[in-house]
């Protein structure tokens, strides 16, 4: 099943050495693929690659692994867990025909969910390269991936949010302030999640305890997470910390995961440890993963693949552990991977599309760094596109400015505005809590309240003393 691919157009023949090269050349232009030296060297060659890719039978991806089975545990996971019965309905299709079927009215939420175990990351990465941004949105919008812990995330008509109250010194008071600010906007129904400034067990336990006390004080139906390394979380569990979700950054190759200090076995151990605590009130999705295009290349662990294809492989890792939440940190990695807003926006839509097709509960950190060619207007655009695509959750930071990680995401205002604009509501359990707290009006919206309003005074007054 090896051998090259050819595409002829107006007398010119383009040759692509193998499947990996074909996928890389078919990718929309981005700086990371150019840095890796795998991108198409002309616009025509890029489209010629797509024409050749459209004719590739889906079976080829099962028989011709991009990274050898013997040398990569992510490849083994993908192939060993492939569901042939689910694949049967599309087994005879090409990549181009799969795109057309996904676009068809026949492909509804139920059929897409049934197909997910039959799809591999490489198949969905391939089909994404034939899709325009509008296609990525329309197809992803049909997918539903619902997960539960204390709240239910991913239901139709809902848009959840991660509240991210980071502080450069892990100061509990500052983190409480950011959390309370977010709760007043209805943020935090996906998770209240802190990136710790210092990754050690004591700091992790201190933050977990503080977040849990805040949650219990106000009886908030959500979950908390300290985004430490998975080994730190395991130690925190052993020491009896009130840990809801285990976090880990993951990538799409064994070598890139080694760069993060994880293996599939270690992730399984962490999942088991978190499950043993039985803290989920209504469900047992206990894992939280972050991903992002370029992570594998930055660890020199991309095996010559384009960054979007490697990224999709990370979703196979994610789905093996039934996560509550997964999000791409799309603009965080920097301009050497995604140079400008056009590249960031495209990558955000691709990541969400690929994850959802694979049955992964995808959210997004709509974000950028100050050395990327992007600004807050571009984040407004991407957030709106993802919300229309029914993204499970978005990350929100006070004033869009993360003072610990030094980058910009969405603000509490931004996510609340999207909910109001598009008629999306928070997770049902959390929505009921907001109503109980007096933070919703009769139409289900979060009204602007003065500091003297009883609901605000109660939350801030008690929360600040927590």
């Amino acid at each position: 099943m090896t051998g090259g691919f050819r595409s002829r157009h107006r007398g010119e023949t383009h040759v692509f050495d193998d499947l990996g090269a074909l996928l890389a050349c078919a990718s929309p232009r981005r700086s990371g693929d150019e840095l890796a030296g795998v991108a198409a060297d002309s616009a025509a060659r890029r489209v010629a690659a797509r024409m050749a890719l459209a004719d590739v039978p889906l079976r080829r991806f099962l028989n011709d692994p991009l990274i050898p089975y013997e040398s990569d545990e992510v490849t083994r996971l993908i192939l060993d867990s492939h569901d042939a019965a689910a694949f049967a309905s599309i087994a005879t299709l090409t990549v181009g025909e799969l795109r057309e079927w996904l676009m068809s009215w026949e492909a509804d939420a139920g059929r897409l969910a049934a197909l997910a175990p039959g799809l591999t990351p490489e198949m969905v990465a391939a089909v994404s390269k034939l899709c325009g941004n509008g296609d990525l949105i329309a197809i992803a919008a049909k997918c539903r991936v619902v997960t539960r812990f204390r709240s239910t995330i991913g239901l139709e008509g809902r848009l959840s949010s991660r509240l991210q109250p980071n502080d450069p010194t892990d100061d509990p008071l500052a983190i409480a302030a950011g959390t309370l600010d977010g709760l007043l906007f209805g943020m935090g129904d996906a998770v209240i999640g802190i990136n710790p400034a210092t990754d050690n067990v004591d700091a992790c336990i201190r933050l977990l305890t503080m977040l849990d006390e805040l949650r219990l004080k106000f009886e908030v139906p959500t979950q908390s997470c300290v985004l430490s390394h998975v080994t730190t979380s395991i130690q925190a569990i052993e020491r009896g910390a009130p840990l809801d979700l285990v976090f880990q950054s993951i990538a799409g190759t064994e070598a890139a995961n080694a760069g993060f200090g994880v293996t599939l076995a270690l992730l399984a151990e962490a999942q088991e440890a978190a499950l043993s605590l039985k803290r989920g009130a209504i469900g047992s999705n206990v894992m939280y993963f972050e991903t992002g295009q370029g992570a594998a290349l930055s660890a020199d662990a991309h095996h010559g693949l384009d960054q979007q294809t490697v990224e999709a492989r990370a979703y196979a890792v994610a789905r093996a552990f039934s996560p509550l939440l997964v999000n791409t940190v799309v603009g965080f990695i920097g301009p050497e991977y995604l140079y400008d807003a056009k590249e960031i926006i495209r990558a955000g839509l691709e990541d969400h599309f690929c994850a959802k097709l694979l049955g992964v509960p995808m959210g997004c950190d709509v974000c950028y760094t100050n050395h990327a060619e992007a600004d807050q207007d571009d984040m407004d655009d991407l957030a709106l596109l993802l919300a229309v695509a029914n993204v499970n959750f978005l990350i929100a930071v006070p004033g869009a400015d993360d003072i610990m990680l030094n980058y910009q995401s969405l603000s509490h205002h931004d996510v609340m505005r999207l909910r109001h604009l598009l008629g999306r509501r928070p997770a049902p359990e959390f929505e009921a809590w907001l109503a109980r707290m007096g933070l919703l009006d009769d139409s289900g919206r979060v009204p602007p309240l003065p500091g003297s309003a009883p609901a605000v005074a109660r939350l801030i007054g008690h929360g600040a003393r927590a």
């Binding site: 700086s31 150019e34 840095l35 502080d167 450069p168 010194t169 500052a174 983190i175 302030a177 950011g178 600010d181 990136n195 400034a197 210092t198 990754d199 976090f247 880990q248 950054s249 990538a251 760069g259 993060f260 972050e290 991903t291 992002g292 370029g294 992570a295 290349l297 930055s298 940190v329 965080f332 990695i333 920097g334 050497e336 991977y337 140079y339 760094t369 100050n370 050395h371 600004d375 807050q376 006070p398 004033g399 400015d401 003072i403 610990m404 990680l405 030094n406 980058y407 910009q408 205002h413 505005r417 604009l421 602007p448 003065p450 500091g451 003297s452 605000v456 801030i460 007054g461 600040a464």
Partner: protein
């Protein structure tokens, strides 16, 4: 309207809390203040360091100007590999030592940081290092941290201290970082360096940074190592307590260490 509760939130954190609302959006002043912070960060990234001014501030010390292989800022941002090595012919400008220590001032991602703090840190550190053989100060444009490895090797330096503009955040566009590497040579791993970061007006002062750097320099020369081995030997007072350690320990995907 009493807003005591919001005032309490603002006192608890430097984060942008209790900004107020205009309907579902930000009030105008808050909106524009954010834009100004981003504009300052953008100007810091795209600004050109006035290396002549830095040479004047360092006089009478000898300086040597070199350029990386990145021909302009856009290439620098897209191609980190080019910023890590010298442009063709530049190595011939360097004067071989041997030296105990060479300071390299690199523009990195913030021209403001370098212009505001780099010369002060060099001068204050050097004052604490009498008895050491210190080479000329190298001024490197379109440079990343690892450029110091090439420079240090070419100059026969036992240690290089790369002072470099950090990726600007909205709260500080002028933050300087220092990376100290023992036995610099191409291919040195980041884990073999020690970092002092967050040197700016509201972070670590240049004096404190110089204290820490001087301690690290003497200790690195004594035990012959930088990186994790040196960090573990450091007393608390010598560690960068206000360091913004996200570039090392945060768990957003890696690769965002734009200045390295």
């Amino acid at each position: 309207m009493r807003d005591d509760a919001f005032e309490m939130l603002r006192r608890m954190t430097r984060a942008r809390v209790a900004l107020g609302r205009s309907g579902d959006g930000l009030p105008t002043a808050a909106k524009l203040e954010f834009q100004m912070a981003h504009a300052l960060a953008r100007d810091a990234v795209w600004g050109k360091v006035n290396f002549d001014g830095i040479a004047d501030a360092l006089a009478p010390r000898e300086v040597i100007k070199v350029a990386s292989a990145a021909p302009d800022r856009a290439s620098y941002l897209r191609r980190p590999d080019l910023g890590r090595r010298l442009a063709a012919g530049e190595a011939s400008k360097l004067r071989p030592g041997p030296f105990d220590l060479v300071f390299i001032i690199a523009d990195g991602l913030s021209a403001d940081a370098v212009e505001s703090h780099a010369a002060d840190v060099v001068i204050a550190t050097e004052a604490q290092l009498s008895g050491l053989t210190i080479g000329p100060v190298v001024l490197a444009s379109e440079a990343r941290v690892a450029l110091g490895d090439d420079v240090g090797a070419a100059m026969g330096a036992r240690l290089v201290a790369v002072l470099i503009g950090e990726r600007p955040g909205l709260s500080a566009a002028d933050s300087l970082g220092v990376y100290l590497s023992f036995k610099p040579a191409a291919g040195l791993r980041d884990s073999a360096r020690n970092c002092i970061s967050n040197i700016h007006g509201h972070g670590l002062s240049t004096e404190r940074a110089a204290d820490k750097l001087a301690w690290l320099v003497r200790e690195a020369l004594r035990i012959g190592v930088t990186g994790i081995g040196l960090k573990e030997a450091a007393p608390d007072a010598a560690l960068p307590t206000t360091a913004q350690p996200s570039s090392i320990t945060h768990h957003k995907p890696t690769g965002a260490r734009g200045h390295e």
